[in-house]
Each structure stands twice: as C-alpha cells, then as structure tokens.
C-alpha cells in the first residue's frame, strides 16, 4: 500500500481502531474483573467460569443461526443479482425490492416475521382452511427457523446489491463473448458469472456471517429462550439487575467477537484467491 493510500485511509483506520480497540479493551477488562461496576478491581475469571456452560451452548446456537442464514442469503442474493443483471422490467422491480428491504430495520423485519410465521400469525391463519391445524413452532421453537429466515431475507438484498455492483460493469459483453464461444445460458452462469461474482459473494457473505453472529435483536425476538445465542446472552446479562453478572456478560461479548474473528481472519486471507479456487486455470 502506498503512503498516499495509507494517509488517505488513516482517519477511518484511526476511528475504527480507537472505537473498536477501546471497546474491546474495556469488555475484556470487565470480563476478568479489572473494570467492576462496584468494588475494587481484582483479576478474576469468575465471570468466565459462571458463564462457561452458556458460552459453549451460545457458540453452537450462534452458528446454528448465522451459518444457514448466510448460506441462504448468499444463494438468494446471487439469484437476485442474476435476475437484476438480466435487465428489463423484472430487474427494475427486483432492484427496487432489494432497496426497500435494505431500508427496513432488522427489528421491524423481525416483528413482521413473527406476525407472519408465529402461532396465530398470518401464515398459520391462511394454512388453517387447508387443514393445517398443527402449525409448526417456527418462532421460538427448537429450530431457529424464523430467525434464520429473517436474517436471510434482509441480508440477501445486501448480497444481491454488492454482487450487482461488482459484476455489472462489462457483464453484458462477457455474456455475449461466452455465447459467441458456444456457452448456453446455464453454462454462462456457471462458467462465467459465478466465478466472476465469487469474490463479491464471498465478501458479502463474510459480512453477513459476522453480522449474524453479532446481532442480537432478531434472535432475541424470534429465537427460543434456551440456549441463547451469544449476543442475546450478552444483552440479557448486561441488562440484568444483578450487577455481578457484568463480567459474565462481557465474557459472552468477548466470545462472540473471538468467534467472528476466528472466521473472518482466515476468510479474509482466502478471499483474494477465491476466483482461482473456484475454477482453477481452465474452466
């Protein structure tokens, strides 16, 4: 990176480093008893010990939500981007729909999904005349179906627009060249569009995955009570009237951050090679 680029990016890097670094330092210090809400600071792993079973379960629950939501968002997002790249009226409608979905806050989306998929929700009422009396527990049930669907619904629009922005320049001509070389529509998608879009899909999916690991509101509203995903656990313990829960809350937050970093760092190292990995030297 040239010195000019470094100096140009410096304000952003400094702001991110200061905010994230200070926050992480404070939450780590809190988790090991160095920043107690009352009393003298004393190094202690009590917060980690007390929350350990919940942290282990929370990691599993967080991944159970984040991974399928990300995979679904990537698939649907890529399909939406393909539709938009096709041009015409359908593309305009899809683009508008994606922008509208992005403008809706997750909390509003989650509320809507609960009204749609919950017991006595719109879907259950519509299904009842068709003989579906036993509506599955999609909201708050054993599997985080509604949570995954809400995250996938909203993040697929994000993935679609990122992929569109990355692939749209030159897309039409690339497809024409491929057609001229004998590629049928499916072959054009699989052998040209998909590998071309892979880095953008990968980057957008990584953002989605990290977001889904760290976001609490959707799982808080639509997920089951136990076990809680890490952000919901951290949110609940931070809001607890028991002030001694703060180190455990901080431990949940640190665990969530480390989990995200464990995925993001190797993924960021892999992304630049994603195109080569996707197809190799020959198609």
């Amino acid at each position: 990176m040239t010195s000019r680029r470094v100096s140009g990016a410096a304000p952003g890097i400094v702001a991110i480093t200061v905010v994230a670094g200070t926050g992480m330092a404070a939450v780590v210090a809190t988790s090991v008893g160095l920043m107690p809400l009352y009393g003298e600071p004393a190094p202690s792993l009590d917060g980690w010990r007390s929350a350990a079973p919940d942290l282990v379960a929370g990691i599993g629950e967080s991944l159970l939500i984040a991974v399928p939501a990300t995979v679904l968002a990537a698939l649907v997002g890529f399909l939406l981007a393909t539709l938009m790249l096709g041009g015409g009226r359908a593309a305009s409608v899809v683009r508008l729909a994606c922008l509208a979905v992005l403008a809706v806050p997750h909390l509003v989306g989650a509320t809507s999904v609960s009204l749609l998929l919950g017991d006595g929700g719109a879907a259950a009422r519509l299904a009842a005349p068709a003989g579906v009396d036993d509506w599955p527990a999609l909201v708050g049930g054993p599997w985080p179906v509604a949570t995954v669907l809400e995250l996938a619904w909203k993040e697929s629009a994000f993935v679609a627009l990122v992929v569109l922005a990355a692939v749209a320049p030159g897309h039409r001509m690339r497809m024409q060249v491929a057609a001229g070389l004998g590629a049928r529509p499916v072959q054009r998608v699989l052998r040209v569009l998909l590998p071309t879009a892979a880095p953008a899909v990968g980057a957008a999916s990584l953002v989605t995955l990290v977001y889904a690991i760290g976001s609490y509101e959707v799982a808080w509203l639509l997920g089951r009570a136990v076990p809680e995903p890490l952000p919901v656990l951290a949110f609940r313990l931070f809001g607890s009237i028991e002030l001694t829960d703060r180190p455990a809350a901080a431990a949940a937050a640190v665990t969530g951050s480390v989990l995200a970093l464990c995925i993001a760092v190797p993924a960021l190292a892999t992304l630049p090679r994603l195109r080569a990995l996707s197809t190799g030297g020959a198609p």
């Binding site: 001509m173 001229g180 070389l181 590998p195 197809t279 190799g280 030297g281 020959a282």
Partner: protein, 378 residues
C-alpha cells in the same frame, strides 16, 4: 468453415426516428474475408450484432451455410464474435481462456489445454498459457482473444473493430497476424472496421452508409471507382465537380472533361477527381479547369494540401509535392493532371430508404424520402 450471408436486413432501435439498417445484404463465401466500413453511426456494428444474434433484426435473414439462423440464439449460430476490447475472463489464466470453448464442447481439461497451446502457438504466445490475463499487455490480450475465438472452431468469425483499441504499431502487427492466421486456417471472416487500411486486408469490402450498402467491391476498386458521392466522401481525398454528362463528356464550370466508362449515364452527375490528380495552373493558361483563390496550405509530411475557393463557391483541395510555393490569396486555375484521361463520374442516388421499399412496420417521413442521399458541395 462455413458461408455466411446477411440478406435484406432491416433494423430500427426502439425510439429511433430512422432505421439503423435499411435492407443491408452481405455475403461471405467459405474461407473468405469481407470487411465492412462506414462512417460512425452507419450501422456497421448493428449489422454484425444482427449476424451474431446479439440483436434481433426487424426483418431479414441470416444464413449460415445456407441455413436461416435468424431465430437462433448466438450460441447455436455456429459463429463466434471478437470485440474491440479483448474481454478475457479474468478468473481464468491465458490457456484457460483459450480452452474455454473446447471445454464447453466437452473436451477434457488436459485435452482442452493441449488444444489451447496449439492456438497460442499460432498467435505467438506459446509458453504464456499459465499467465494471469491481467498481467498481459493490450496487444497480448487481443492475441489471446483471437486465439480463444479461433479455438471455438466455429463456422465463421465476426470481428467488431477488433484492433481499434491498439496503437498503430500493435495494430500493424495484429494485421500481420491476421494474414498468418488466414493462411493457416482460412476462416470465414466478417470484420467491421473504420480503418480503411485494415479493411483492405479482406478480399472485398462492403461500404455501409446510413444503414444501406453503397458498394461491395475490393478496396482497390472502391478507391478507383467509388459507387456514390457518399463513398467518395468516406474515403476522402476526392474533389467533387457537379455538372452534366453528355456524350461521354462531363460539362461543368471546369469545362469539358472525358468520363470513364461504367459510371454515370447522360444527365446530372458528379465528377470525382482524386486531389493528387489535380494541379494548379496560371489563370491565363487557357486550360479547362476552375478559376480559384488559394485559401490555405497544410503540410502533411512529404506533400502539401492546398485548399482553394472556386469561383462557383465550391471548395477544392489539391495535393502537391512539398516545396510547392503557393501563397494564400493567389488566384490560380485548378486543372486535372491529364485533361484527356477519363475521370470517374457518378449520378446522384436517391435514398435507398424510399417509402416503396420499406418493409411493414417502417415509416420514413416525406422529407427524408425526398431528400437525395448525397448532395454536392456546390
């Protein structure tokens, strides 16, 4: 390889007032190369896109080996297209790009790469198969694009201004390469270009103006005998002398000049004289020619182009050897180098888009239908 024929193709872009193509027809024989030239907006690329199936024409036929493929998508037309920009697939290396079509056709990876090496050798890029395409120069990228198109081994190759993004030297080397490739493979080629030197690489050239074919001949013939004033203007370097042909002689303000056979019949006609076939004479020379005043002189290396204003308000350009001392404001007489040699004359030609010839769905305004396609400058 195959034959390719585009027959009586009309096309109007949505919202456009006039058709982009007006009954254009081009035929390319097996192993032949035909170039299409024309000014910007003449419909050259539209014609090629219609042939390739990238654009659906309003009417007309596209025949590959005599089979009408107008309703077929591009991938089923047995044609391949090479554009002005190489548009290489960046997720593939050089050999991967060239092996793209063989792989689509079902060749195994190793076999396809072997095939790619063969074509890379043909375009002098042997040993570069594993290179990242983004690391190549513009000329090398275009060579890879040519190898990729050839490796598709389809019936005909359509080239859309393939070398126009390259500098003069690279373009010349690509022209040499094209000659080599033709000698080796004899592909059927339809090439659109605005470069007249490039067009001369083909056996014959189609001159497309305002969407209609004005002439289809060899470049030598086109330079020697442009079919219309518009073709002459496209080539440049002609002086147009308006007048009348009668008994094999052209009568105008320039006097009587003999007319070559095969051009204009008796009646109003434009005499087309190349500017290097004109010279300047003293006003009192008494020779057939045009009284004129020197407006400016422009050196062009070894020659000087002198612009003159004629007494009949026409503008004439004369090309003279460098060192010819003629000053602006001087009155002279412009005369053909040899007034006895027959000159080439053409008649005015009505717009080919006249209302009677229009296919269903087309409409040309009365003004357009009346307007002659070419107008003399005088």
């Amino acid at each position: 390889m195959s034959t390719l024929e585009v027959r009586d193709v009309w096309h109007r872009y949505p919202g456009a007032d006039t058709p982009a193509l007006r009954g254009a027809s081009v035929a390319v024989a097996d192993g032949e190369m035909v170039s299409v030239v024309g000014p910007s907006g003449s419909g050259k690329s539209t014609l090629l896109r219609v042939a390739a199936g990238l654009l659906r024409s309003t009417s007309g036929e596209v025949l590959v080996d005599g089979r009408d493929v107008a309703d077929q998508p591009t991938e089923r037309r047995d044609l391949t297209v090479m554009f002005q920009h190489p548009l290489l697939f960046e997720h593939l290396d050089v050999a991967g790009n060239v092996a793209f079509a063989p792989r689509l056709a079902g060749a195994r990876r190793r076999e396809a790469r072997r095939c790619a090496q063969r074509y890379l050798r043909l375009v002098h890029l042997e040993g570069m198969g594993s290179r990242d395409v983004t690391s190549l120069s513009g000329g090398q990228q275009q060579r890879v694009a040519l190898a990729r198109a050839l490796a598709a081994e389809r019936g005909a190759l359509l080239l859309d201004e393939p070398f126009s993004s390259l500098d003069r030297e690279l373009r010349a080397s690509m022209h040499d390469l094209l000659v080599e490739v033709r000698a080796a493979l004899a592909p059927t080629i339809l090439m659109v270009t605005h470069d007249l030197d490039e067009a001369a690489l083909a056996e014959s050239t189609v001159v497309l103006i305002d969407g209609s074919v004005h002439q289809h001949a060899s470049m030598v013939e086109i330079y020697r005998r442009p079919a219309t004033v518009a073709v002459a203007r496209l080539l440049g370097g002609f002086t147009e002398i308006a007048g009348t042909v009668r008994d094999g002689m052209h009568h105008s303000a320039w006097g009587r000049l003999p007319v070559a056979d095969g051009g204009a019949e008796d009646g109003a006609a434009v005499l087309l004289v190349r500017r290097e076939s004109l010279r300047l004479a003293a006003t009192d020379s008494g020779r057939a020619g045009l009284g004129a005043r020197v407006v400016r002189r422009r050196p062009t290396g070894t020659r000087v182009v002198v612009t003159l204003a004629g007494d009949d308000d026409s503008t004439v350009e004369v090309e003279l050897p460098v060192g010819h001392d003629v000053r602006p404001g001087t009155r002279v007489r412009v005369v053909p180098t040899d007034t006895r040699a027959p000159q080439w004359a053409v008649q005015h030609k009505d717009s080919p888009g006249n209302a009677d010839a229009l296919p269903p769905g087309f409409h040309v305004s009365p003004h357009e239908a009346r307007l002659p396609m070419e107008e003399t400058r005088s």
